[in-house]
């Protein structure tokens, strides 16, 4: 006999299956849409690939997609490395030392997690202009490195991951505090560094708001900005835009495929502890 539990199980799998199709359908259609002539996109649902891939690629070449790609890689990689170093150092300091104002400073970080950065965007632009950063990619690399969530989470991680005994024996051997951080603490913090690095790569790679405001020189455009420009330029070429975005998604999907477990675990542990 077919048990009740089998039917329950079937319904569960069906439900999750349908939700999952909804989750990936837009991805799938993104890949398909990039192979069509733009005007054909609005004629029904696209299940199979079209025959306009080459032409769309040619359109992308006209807007220097390679320059945008290079800028995006430069920004996202430097931003995530800087974020990891800055937050790991802060987390290590908070977790492994006693010092004056430690509690208040840590509470301050927690509070800033609730303050959206867009609040200061007007003065941020003025500041960037004043220090001459508007003609560079630095506004997209340095400011996001002070990631409140990152510092909080590195502290939590360092508390339980770095054994005090190892640090003490290194001190007895005459190791400086800075070397203890780079050679002993950092290796223990690798899992947290990977997750934070991925997360800030993702945020930086996908970011539109900040680049839209601080970057005006087309030579410095990141991909989201460049793709947007394709929409407002001479004509609306949705298909070429979408192909560009498909290419944009590849690094993210690749990184995710490699590190999905650590990313998901990291994100969820932060919420449980917070």
């Amino acid at each position: 006999m077919v048990g009740r539990s089998f039917i329950v199980r079937l319904i569960m799998v069906l439900f999750v299956g349908v939700v999952s199709i909804v989750a990936i359908y837009p991805y799938y259609s993104m890949i398909m849409m990039g192979t069509y002539y733009s005007n054909d996109l609005f004629t029904g649902i696209k299940i199979l690939p079209g025959d306009y891939l080459k032409e769309n690629l040619a359109t992308l070449k006209t807007i220097n997609i390679l320059t945008f790609y290079k800028n995006s890689v430069l920004v996202a990689v430097s931003c995530s490395i800087l974020t990891v170093l800055v937050c790991a150092a802060a987390g290590f300091g908070f977790a492994k030392y006693q010092f004056r104002f430690k509690k208040s400073l840590f509470t301050f970080i927690l509070l800033t997690m609730m303050v959206p950065l867009q609040l200061g965007i007007v003065a941020f632009v003025v500041e960037m202009r004043a220090i001459g950063w508007l003609k560079t990619l630095l506004p997209l690399i340095v400011p996001p490195a002070a990631n409140a969530f990152g510092a909080f989470w590195m502290t939590q991680f360092a508390l339980q991951a770095i054994p005090d005994e190892v640090m003490e024996s290194a001190r007895i051997d005459g190791c400086s505090e800075f070397r203890i951080f780079t050679q002993i603490a950092l290796p223990f913090m690798v899992p947290a560094c990977t997750t934070l690095g991925l997360l800030s790569f993702l945020l930086s790679w996908n970011s539109l708001f900040a680049p839209l405001i601080v970057i005006s020189d087309a030579k410095l455009f990141t991909i989201p900005l460049g793709i947007r420009q394709l929409a407002t330029n001479f004509r609306m070429d949705n298909a070429a835009q979408i192909l560009g975005l498909t290419l944009t998604s590849i690094p993210i999907l690749f990184l995710f495929a490699l590190f999905s477990r650590s990313l998901i675990n990291g994100l969820s542990s932060a919420a449980v502890k917070g």
Partner: protein, 313 residues
């Protein structure tokens, strides 16, 4: 926070060690103060001026704030944000929690793969989302209207991009689509943290699945629920990239805030006021502060309410 036992040893062995913790936290605070805190404070000064960003700013005192409290568009943006919150948060939490329960159940197959698939939307570039959903929600030929029509759910096509309420529903759906998998992952972590002996004890007492969910799972997920509610609320103020793309793809790039400004959110209003067709840095800064006060009051209030109302749980 757990206290470390390091410092006593530290003081005995090295003098430089006393300054070490400050050196470690300095880069973080230097960057935060220079590029986040300073702009936030300086924005307050700008909010007291009339300034186009180029000529010399003129100090006008609280004049901008008087304009703000009479600005219909500002209150429109606040109302929109509240409407979006009310449409997004319940679905986000309901769907996320339900999916999490299914994906943590022993009766489920392929849990790992389903978790990954549902997490994918969180990774999408907002610009891509905007363009693709803009096409999918197209009035005449979009996939959504075709599916709704084929299922017989609507008699005529819905003008998602051209009418205020459909536009709000569309923006809510896009946001929910992007974040429900992420929310589910957070709830899965919460469920994994629940002590299994609670469920075992309930089973011995003959409690059924629904009761177990209502009496054990939901109450113990309270911290996660609070986290999701607060972050989603702040997130609703920041909805910007996707609608910006949807409504500039759909037609004129001048459709600020969508049809009749129905999806003009807080951040979009700051952007448009300060950096739109007319540069108004002074008033843009005022809008930012007005929004901040509103977000602060709202999040603190909701947090208090959720922490206190034990009977709800």
């Amino acid at each position: 926070m757990k206290e470390s036992t390091g410092p006593t040893v530290l003081r005995r062995h090295s003098r430089s060690g006393r300054y070490a913790p400050y050196l470690f936290i300095t880069p973080y605070f230097a960057i935060y103060i220079a590029f986040s805190l300073f702009p936030i404070i300086y924005t307050f000064y700008i909010s007291l001026t009339a300034w186009n960003g180029f000529s010399a700013p003129v100090f006008v005192g609280i004049k901008n704030y008087l304009t703000l409290v009479a600005d219909k568009r500002f209150f429109g943006a606040l109302t929109n944000t509240l409407i979006l919150m009310l449409m997004i948060i319940p679905v986000q939490i309901g769907l996320g929690m339900f999916l999490a329960v299914l994906l943590s159940s022993n009766n489920m197959i392929g849990k790992g793969s389903f978790r990954l698939l549902n997490f994918l939307p969180y990774l999408t570039t907002p610009v891509a989302l905007g363009i693709i959903f803009g096409i999918m929600f197209d009035w005449q030929f979009g996939a959504i209207n075709q599916i709704l029509g084929a299922l017989g759910l609507v008699r005529e096509n819905i003008n998602w991009i051209g009418k205020p309420w459909p536009a709000r529903v569309m923006v809510s759906l896009v946001t929910i689509w992007k974040y429900y998998g992420y929310t589910a992952v957070l709830f899965i972590a919460g469920i994994t943290n629940i002590n299994p002996s609670l469920y075992e004890a309930a089973e011995i007492d003959g409690v059924n699945g629904v009761q177990k969910f209502m009496r054990i799972t939901v109450p113990l997920l309270k911290p996660t629920v609070i986290f999701v509610v607060l972050t989603t609320m702040i997130g609703c103020f920041q909805i910007f990239d996707e609608p910006l793309m949807i409504f500039s793809t759909a037609g004129s790039s001048s459709m600020v805030g969508g049809p009749e400004h129905a999806v003009l959110t807080g951040v979009w209003m700051i952007f448009d006021t300060a950096f739109g067709n007319i540069l108004r840095f002074g008033y843009g800064a005022t809008v930012a502060y007005g929004l901040f006060v509103f977000i602060a009051i709202l999040t603190i209030g909701v947090n208090r309410l959720m922490q206190r109302r034990e009977d709800l749980w």
